[in-house]
C-alpha cells in the first residue's frame, strides 16, 4: 500500500470516500454520528464520502477510523499519488469555517493576477478587433469601377472609377487607362484626361492622389436591346509596374429600356435610388449626370421609355 500521508506542516491523509460510506452504512451508523465522533459537520462527512475532498487531517482520519471500528489504513485510498497542496486552504475543516479577515485579504491578493490576465487578454482582443474592424487594407492601390447594370441606348450614363491606396504622407501619381466600349461616345470626363490621353477608344488619366480619388466619365452607347457594353482598364502607381493590375468592379452594362438609375427596373425612381444617385455622383466635380432630370422622374409616379421619340416620358 502506498503511503497516503501528505507531507507538510499539518499531516494529511487521503481517504477513500466510498469505503467510509460502505463501512458506515454497513454498521447502520448515521453521518451525524460520525460527524459528532470526529467533531466535524455532517456536510464534511458527506463531502468525504462523495470524494470531493479526499485529503483530510490525519487526526480526523484516526477519529474516523475509531468511530468506524477499523484501522486508519483501512480507510486510506489505495495507489494514490501524493499531491502537495497548501494545507490550510484545502483542508475540509478550514473550508467549513467562516472566512476570516486574513482569508479575505488573501483571496483579494489572489484575484489580482486574474484581473491583470483578463485585462491583458482584453487589450489584445481589442487591438485585434480595432485592426480588423477599422483599419484600411494594406494594399498599394485598389481600383474599382462602378457602372450601371443597364442603360438605354443613346442615353448618357455615368461610369465611376474609385482609387484607394494605403495612407502615406506624400502624394502618389496614379496612371489610369480605361478602354471605352465599342460604339461609345464620351460626353464628359472628370478630371480632365492627361494631354493626349483622350483617344477614340481610351481615356488616360495621370493624377497625384493622397488616399483616394474618383475618376468618372459620362458616355452614350449605341446598340440594340440586350447588347452588352464591356468595360476594361488598368490602374497603377506611376512607374511601379510594367503590367498594371486591372480595374475591378463592374465590367458590363446591358442595353435595355430602363433608366440607368432605376436599379430594380420597375419604371420608378424610388427614394433609395435617387439617394444613391445623389450620394454617388453629386460630389464629382465636372460630371453632370442630369440629376435634375432624374429628380423629375423621381417626383413623378413613374416613367416610360418611348422607343419612337427616343425620350423618357414621365408619368404624373
Amino acid at each position: 500500500m502506498a503511503d497516503n500521508s501528505i507531507p507538510g506542516p499539518m499531516s494529511m491523509v487521503k481517504v477513500d470516500g466510498s469505503k467510509i460510506k460502505h463501512l458506515r452504512e454497513g454498521q447502520g451508523l448515521t453521518q451525524l454520528y460520525l460527524a459528532t465522533a470526529v467533531q466535524v459537520t455532517t456536510d464534511t462527512i458527506s463531502r468525504w464520502e462523495n470524494k470531493r475532498y479526499p485529503s483530510i487531517k490525519k487526526e480526523n482520519g484516526i477519529k474516523l477510523a475509531e468511530a468506524l471500528n477499523v484501522q486508519l489504513e483501512d480507510l486510506l485510498e489505495e495507489n494514490e499519488v501524493e499531491e502537495p497542496l497548501p494545507l490550510p486552504r484545502l483542508a475540509p475543516s478550514a473550508i467549513d469555517l467562516a472566512l476570516t479577515t486574513d482569508n479575505k485579504k488573501s483571496r483579494i491578493r489572489n484575484i489580482w493576477p486574474f484581473i491583470i490576465l483578463s485585462l491583458t487578454l482584453f487589450c489584445i482582443l481589442a487591438a485585434f478587433a480595432w485592426y480588423f474592424l477599422y483599419s484600411s487594407p494594406d494594399l498599394p492601390i485598389t481600383a474599382e469601377r462602378n457602372a450601371p447594370d443597364h442603360c438605354i441606348a443613346g442615353q448618357p450614363f455615368p461610369v465611376m472609377i474609385k482609387i484607394t491606396r494605403a495612407p502615406e504622407d506624400r502624394q502618389t501619381a496614379i496612371i489610369i487607362r480605361e478602354n471605352l466600349p465599342a460604339n461609345a461616345t464620351v460626353v464628359k470626363i472628370s478630371p480632365e484626361a492627361v494631354s493626349g490621353g483622350m483617344k477614340k477608344d481610351t481615356i488616360s488619366w495621370l493624377k497625384k492622389i493622397n488616399e483616394s480619388a474618383t475618376f468618372a466619365y459620362v458616355i452614350r452607347v449605341a446598340g440594340g436591346k440586350d447588347d452588352k457594353v464591356t468595360f476594361s482598364g488598368t490602374a497603377a502607381i506611376s512607374g511601379d509596374s510594367d503590367s498594371p493590375p486591372p480595374i475591378g468592379g463592374s465590367s458590363k452594362t446591358t442595353i435595355d429600356k430602363y433608366h440607368w438609375a432605376d436599379v430594380d427596373m420597375d419604371n420608378i425612381i424610388s427614394d433609395s435610388e435617387i439617394l444613391a444617385v445623389h450620394d454617388r455622383y453629386n460630389q464629382i466635380e465636372g460630371i453632370d449626370v442630369d440629376i435634375d432630370a432624374i429628380e423629375e422622374i423621381w417626383l413623378g409616379s413613374g416613367y416610360k421609355w418611348n422607343e419612337t421619340t427616343k425620350k423618357i416620358e414621365i408619368i404624373e
Binding site: F114, S118, A126, L275, A276, H278
Partner: protein, 138 residues
Amino acid sequence: MSISPANRYHPFLTIFLVMVMGIFCHHEAHATNSLVTGKYISYSGTDIVLHLTIQNPAPANLIVEQYLSPENVIIDTAPQAKKIDSAQGNIKWLFKNTRNGILSLSIQLDSPLVDDISAIVRYRTPQGGAFTELRITP
C-alpha cells in the same frame, strides 16, 4: 461562501467575457445608431414643426416625407418642399449635402390640424451606403 478551486476562476472568466461582449456591442451600437432623430415641436393648430437632429457623420442627402390627412389644406412649407400631393396629404423634401445639426421643417395649414401626422426620414449611411428609414410620430 467557499469557492472550490475548480470554480474559483469562473468570476474572472465572466469578467473577461463581459468585456469581450462589450467590444462587439460597442461596434454594433456604433454601426446601428441612428444618424438622424426627429421630434415634432408643434403638432396642433395650423403650424406643424418637425425638428430633425442630424449626427456626425451626417448622411450626404436626406428625404423627408410628411403624411397628413387629406382633409388638411397645406398653405406653405419651409423649406420649400420638392413635392406636395394635397390629394394624398403627402409632402416630400429632398435635402442635399446635409450637415450635422438641427434641421427644422415647418408646415402651415389653413385650419387646425385634422387627424394624426407622421413622417418618414430616408437616407443612406455615409459608411457603407445602407438605406435607412426612420419613422417619426408626435
